[in-house]
Amino acid sequence: MSGALRANASRTDIDAVVVGAGGAGLWAALELAREGIPTAVLTKLYPTRSHTGAAQGGVCAALGNVEEDHWEWHMFDTVKGGDYLTDQDAAEVLAREAIPAVIELERMGLPFNRTPDGKIDQRRFGGHTRNYGEGPVRRSCYAADRTGHMILQTLYQQCIKAGVKFYDEYHVVDLVFEGGEADKGGRCSGVVGYKISDGSLHVFRAKTVLLATGGYGRAWRVTSNAHSLTGDGMALAWRHGVPLMDMEFYQFHPTGIVGIGILLSEAARGEGGYLLNNEGKRFMESYAPKLMELAPRDMVSRAIYQEVRAGRGIDGKDYVYLDVRHLGRKVIEEKLPDITDFARVYQGVEPISEPVPIQPTAHYAMGGVPTNLNTEVIAGPDGSVVPGLFAAGEVACVSVHGANRLGTNSLVDLLVFGKRAGKRMAAICKSTQLPAARPGAETAVADEMAAMASRPEGVRPAEIRRDLAALMMDNVGVYRDEALLSAAVREIARLKGEYARVRVEDTGSVFNTDLLEARELGYLLDTAEATAVSALARKESRGAHSREDYPDRDDAKFLAHTMVWRGSDGAPAERIAYKPVTITIFEPKPRIY
C-alpha cells in the first residue's frame, strides 16, 4: 500500500454515526445524546468551520412576533416558491415545526436580535408573504447578518455541554453496506473514515448512519459555497445504489460578488436594497411588480440574465448593481455589517456611498439524497426505505424546497429535519441489533486512494476541476437547453475518463490535502453528472430549472420528482424514474408574484 494510507484500519462498533457537523448533523447529534445513544460524529472540518456558519440572512418561522403570521402561510409560500414540486406534507412539517425549533434555539442561548419588547425580532425575506401571497411578511428571525454563524455556534456549544463525541478532521471516504447495495435491498452498516492528520483508516460499524454533508456548489466556477462543499454524501450514497432526486434544481442566488461568487445576503434586499440596471432602473418592476426585489431567487437571477442579454448590464457587462445607499449608514452598519465588510474587502467597494456590482452565483442544491419525512433514505419512487441510512440538511431531498428554495428555508430545514433525524435514529438504535461485520469493508476505497497517490504520471486534479467548473457554469447554469445539456453530459463523461488517470503528487500520509481534494473531485463529477442527466431529461421549465427550448411548466408530464441512478462500472447514468409529488392542500397554479 502506498505511503498515503496507513495499513491496518481500526474498528469501532457504535450505535449511531453522524457524518457532518453543520446545522443538520449537530442537531441530530444533540438529539441522539439526549436519548443516550452512543454516537460518533465524523467531520472533515472542525465543526465550527462548517458552511452553516456562512448563512447570513435568517431563519423563518411564523412566530408572529411583529405582525400577524401563520404556519399555513409559510407552508403556502414554500409550496409556491418551489413551483409546486414541493411535497406538501413535508412543507407542512417544515412550517409547523419551524416555530418550536426556533424557540428551542433561543432557549439554547442563540442571541437573536430583539424587538423593543424583548422578543425575537423578525424581518422580511424573499418569497415570504402574508395571507397567501398578498405582500411581504416579517417572518425571518435573525442575529444581525450572522444567523448561520450563531446557529452553528449554539448547536456546537450544546453538543459540548451534552458530551457529544466528535471525530474532528475525519474524512468519510466510503459507506459500508451489508446484504447488497441499496438497490438490491441492502442495509447501510457503517462508514469508513480517513483520519486526515495521519492517513489512517477507521471503520465504524453502526446501526444507523446519517449523511449531513451539505451541498456541492463547488461544481460551478462562480459559487457562494465553501471549498469543502463537494457533494460527498450524495456521491457516496449514489455509488451504493441510492438514487439522487431532483438534481436538476440547483439554485443560483442573484447577488454574488462579481467573479468570485461570495454571497451578499438577501438580507440586503430584505432591508430595502434595490437592484438597478445600467439605466439606473429598478428592473424587477418588469418581472415581479408586486414583490419586486423580494421575488424568489430563481426569478431574480433570470431577470438579471435577461437584463444583461438586453444590453442593460453595467457598462454592457454581465452584472448589475445592488444599491443600499438610501438605507443610510446606520442601517447598513448595524443590520448588514458582514455584507458591508465583504463588499469592502473583496471588491474594494463602499456600499454606503457606492452601488455594489453583483451577478448570480451557484448557491444551493434543492435536490439530493431522497428521504421520507423521518429522514430515512428511500430507494425508489415507491418510498421503500434503505435500512440504516438517513440524510438531513442540504445533502437531502425531502422534498421541502421543490424546484426552488425560499431564502431562510434551508436553515429551517436543518433544524427541523436534523432534529427529526436524531429522534428517528434513536428510536431505531433502541430496537435493532448491530449489523453483521463486513471484513475488508475498507479494502475497495483504500485501493482506489492508494492508486491515485502511486501513479507515476497522470492528469492533475486541478485541471479537471477547472474544466468541470467552467462547463457547469456555461452549460448547466441559469438557462439551459438540449444542446447545452447534451454537450455537458458528454463532456462530463470525458472528464470522468480523465479522472480515472488522475494523479496526486503528495504521497505522504500526514495531512494529505492533495489526495483528499482529488477524492472530492470524484464526488463533484458524480453530482455534476446526476445534475446534467436529470436536467436533460426534464423537458419543461420549473423553478430553478429553466429550459429555453421548453419555456413552460408542464404539469401533465413533469409534476414529479426525478430519480436518477448511477451507471454501473463507470457507464454514464441512464436509469431515471419519476416519483409523484404529494399534494395535500394547494392545487398547482401559475406562479406569479
Binding site: 450572522r146 473583496y346 492533495d514
Partner: protein, 232 residues
Amino acid sequence: MSSVELKIQRFDPERDAAPHWVNYTVPVEPMDRVLDVLTRAKELFDGSITFRRSCAHGVCGSDALMINGRNRLACKVRVEQLGKSISVAPLPGLPVIKDLVVDMDAFFGKYRSVLPFLVAEEPAGEGERHQTQEQRDRYDDTTKCILCAACTSSCPSFWAQPDYVGPAAIVNAHRFIFDSRDEAADDRLEILADEDGVWRCRTTFNCVDACPRGINITKAILEVSSAIGSRR
C-alpha cells in the same frame, strides 16, 4: 498577469528534520487574496503544499496564518495590500503538523474549559425567553468569534506560558458571562481567576490587531478581570 514572490514555511514530518522556507514566483490577478495565491502555487508547482481552507470569505476560520509577520486570515488579505513579496508561516506557538497546518486540539480544549454554552434553568412554558436589545448588545461583540486562533497565537503571554487559557477562550467566556440569560457567570469567573486565566494578559493588544472579526478582545478581557475583581 503580474506575479509575486511567495515564501512558504514548509515542513513535512515524514521527510524534514526542521521547517524551512521555500520560494515560489506565482502569477496573480488584481483582486487575488493570499489564499488564491497559495492555491495557485499548490496547483501549478507542488501539490504537496499543505494548508487548511474552507469558506474562503472570512467566516469559517480555517486559514488563519502568519502572513508577512502578522496573524491574518489568508482569504481576507488582498495581495495588493502586501506588495511584491509575501511570506506565509503557520500560526506561532502552536505545534506544526505539516507546512501551514497546526495542531488545534489544545486550543479547542481551552475553549471547552470555560463552559462555552448557556447554563440556565429551563424557563417555564413553551415560549422564548425575553431579552432587551440593550441586554443583547452587552455581549454582541464577543458572539462574533470564529475560533480561528489568530488572537491566542499572537499573544506573547501565550508564547511564554502555553498553559495560559488565551484570548479566544476568554472571549467565549465573556459571551456568556455578560448574557442576561446565563446563570453560570460565577463558575466561569472562578475558572478564569486561575493562575493561567485572565491575569496573564499584559494588554499588548496583539490579539485586537490579529482578530479578523474586529472584536475588541482586550476590552472583553478587561471586563472579565474587573468582574472577577468585583466579586472578591
